[in-house]
Structures are given as structure tokens and as C-alpha cells.
């Protein structure tokens, strides 16, 4: 994922008006919905929340409120940490649980945060690559 230039990342993770993920590399008309994220192998569920934590869409069978809280908290903290460090371009955050449990991948999408619940043994960087490939912005 490191060979992906910043413009492409911006395009991938910048949202359009209807809060769907804009596909990268000049294919901005193609978008990802929550359901489409779930089609990526290794993604068990997806959730989208507004920056203030309001739940916008999800595909989770259980505890969407908890997932929304985690997604919002992690996204907001990432922004705050970025501001402290002088990092302006947040890519993504990953939350793991030592006690076991599915990792959560969070990234910014326009005026929302997207949280993806991943299978336990999958590398988040692999998911990001898959999303990139599907969005047409791959290598």
C-alpha cells in the first residue's frame, strides 16, 4: 500500500455528497456502499458513521451501536493525534484485541468514518489493497 500515491489515497478515502466511497484514480463516478465493502474477502461487516457518531448505514447483525462507537472514537482520536503530530493526511486506523476478537479497520470517507470488521487472521493492509484493486486504483 505504500506505493500508492497520496492523490490516489485522497481520492479513495474522500467522500462525495451521498457519503459513498469515491473510487480512486479518476474513476470517481464509481462508488462503494456498505454492502459492497462486505463483498471484499476478509470483511465480515461494515458500518458508516457521521463524524459526530451518528449511525448512517451498516451491515452488522449484532451491536451496531457498539461498532459505531468504536468507529467514531477511533476515527476522532486518529484526527486528534494527527493534529498533535502535525500529520495532515490520515490513511487508516486498525484496532486489535489481545484477548481475541475481530480487528476493526477505520478510515475517513468524506464527512463520515467507515469501520470494517475484519476476519481475525487477515492483515488489514491486505484488505486495503483489495479495496484499492476493486476500486480500479490498483497497481
Amino acid at each position: 500500500m505504500d506505493d500508492f500515491d497520496s492523490g490516489q489515497w485522497d481520492a479513495l478515502f474522500a467522500g462525495d455528497e451521498d457519503t459513498r466511497v469515491v473510487r480512486a484514480a479518476g474513476t470517481a463516478s464509481e462508488t462503494f456502499s456498505v454492502e459492497e465493502f462486505c463483498e471484499v474477502p476478509g470483511v465480515k461487516g461494515a458500518i458508516r458513521v457521521a463524524l459526530d457518531g451518528a449511525l448512517q448505514a451498516h451491515s452488522l447483525a449484532e451491536s451496531p451501536e457498539q461498532a459505531a462507537a468504536i468507529t467514531t472514537y477511533l476515527g476522532a482520536s486518529a484526527r486528534q493525534v494527527g493534529a498533535t503530530m502535525g500529520y495532515r493526511n490520515f490513511d487508516h486506523a486498525v484496532l486489535n484485541f489481545d484477548s481475541g476478537g475481530d480487528p476493526v479497520l477505520v478510515f475517513r470517507q468524506g464527512s463520515s468514518f467507515v469501520g470494517l470488521l475484519l476476519e481475525e487472521d487477515i492483515a488489514p493492509s491486505h484488505i486495503i489493497s483489495r479495496i484499492r484493486e476493486r476500486s480500479g486504483g490498483g497497481e
Binding site: 489515497w9 486518529a78 493525534v81 486489535n96
Partner: protein, 195 residues
């Protein structure tokens, strides 16, 4: 923190791509820095506060204290590991040998957890000693029975609370009913403050 922990922190900071690391408590106070620490300490202090709040918030929501958080930016990366009553933050460049970092981390986290356990055991010994001091100060030569109740209690907070209750009852019945409540209150305040 032990010398071993400092050695571990310095090993982390010596890895290619690591700019520095620090350990902080649940209040966001920095307990130990790595040497070198290429990021300014002012930034470290501000970061520790945010990260402590983040860990507390996420632990509350999820119910697990042992969290790992990886924050990736175009300009760099932060790796955060939750440890008992605090966390370890590693500030890295975006390009980093993550496998090497993980190997070093795995060994070090074990060390940190052991070190926290030692601290906890020292703290609980100190706590019982301070409770005994309160008894001695308030009851003088009559404190022995309260001291033996405290000594025979376990070291965790719940066991000590029970022991304080027993000590209060015993003092009220056999020593001085006026002092019993005040002594128990001071002991409970101490217990609360040491949590």
C-alpha cells in the same frame, strides 16, 4: 519502572524507522521515554493525554483493556499498545519493518506486564502499611486488633474494604465508638485514592 524496561524502550527506539517511544499511565502522564526520542517531549505530553483518553474510551466501549491500535498517516505511523492502567506508544516513520517491531514488542510487553505486576504487589503492601498507620495514629496502643485484621486480609481492594468494615465494627464495640467511624472513613478514603 525497572532498568530492564528502559533497555527495552531504548531497543525499540533503536529500530530503523522508529522515532521514539514512551509509556504513559491512564491519566496520560508519561512514565518513561525511550532514548533517543526524536519527537519533542511537548508533543509526547499532548499525545499521551489523547492516547490515554482513547484507550480508556475504547476499553469502556469494548470491555477489553488489552488493545492494540495502529494509526497510519501519509506522514508517519503510531503504534499503541494497551498495558495495565496505561499504554505504550511508538512513533514511527511510515516505512517501517513491522515484523521486526512486533518481535521486539512481544518480548518487551511481557517484561512490561511483569513489571506492572511487581509494582502492583509493592503498592498493595504499601497500602496495607498505610492503613495500619491510620489505625496506630488513631487508636494508639489499642490498634493491635485492627492491625491484625488488616494483616490477615488479602491485598485486593475488595478484601481490604471488608477488613475495614470488620475493623470499624470491632472498634465501635470494644475500643471507642466515636473513633470507629472516623478511622474507617480515613481508611476508605485512602483505599479509594490508591485505586
Amino acid at each position: 519502572m525497572s532498568e530492564q524496561v528502559q533497555v527495552f524502550m531504548d531497543q525499540l527506539a533503536a529500530l530503523v524507522g522508529v522515532q521514539g517511544a514512551f509509556i504513559f499511565d491512564s491519566q496520560g502522564k508519561i512514565l518513561q521515554y525511550s532514548t533517543p526520542m526524536k519527537v519533542s517531549r511537548d508533543k509526547g505530553v499532548a499525545l499521551a493525554r489523547t492516547l490515554a483518553r482513547t484507550l480508556t474510551g475504547l476499553s469502556t466501549v469494548h470491555g477489553s483493556t488489552m488493545l492494540g491500535i495502529d494509526l497510519t498517516y501519509e506522514e508517519g505511523r503510531l503504534v499503541l499498545k494497551g498495558i495495565e492502567r496505561g499504554g505504550l506508544c511508538i512513533i514511527c516513520e511510515r516505512q517501517l519493518n513491522y515484523s521486526l517491531l512486533n518481535i521486539t514488542l512481544e518480548q518487551g510487553l511481557r517484561l512490561l506486564r511483569d513489571s506492572k505486576q511487581e509494582e502492583r504487589s509493592e503498592e498493595s503492601t504499601n497500602r496495607v502499611d498505610r492503613l495500619k498507620d491510620i489505625a496506630t495514629e488513631m487508636l494508639g496502643e489499642h490498634a493491635n486488633r485492627v492491625i491484625s485484621i488488616l494483616e490477615s486480609a488479602g491485598s485486593d481492594a475488595g478484601e481490604l474494604e471488608d477488613a475495614i468494615q470488620q475493623a470499624e465494627n470491632m472498634t465501635r464495640m470494644f475500643i471507642d465508638k466515636n473513633l470507629a467511624g472516623e478511622m474507617a472513613q480515613r481508611m476508605r478514603d485512602l483505599l479509594m485514592a490508591s485505586r
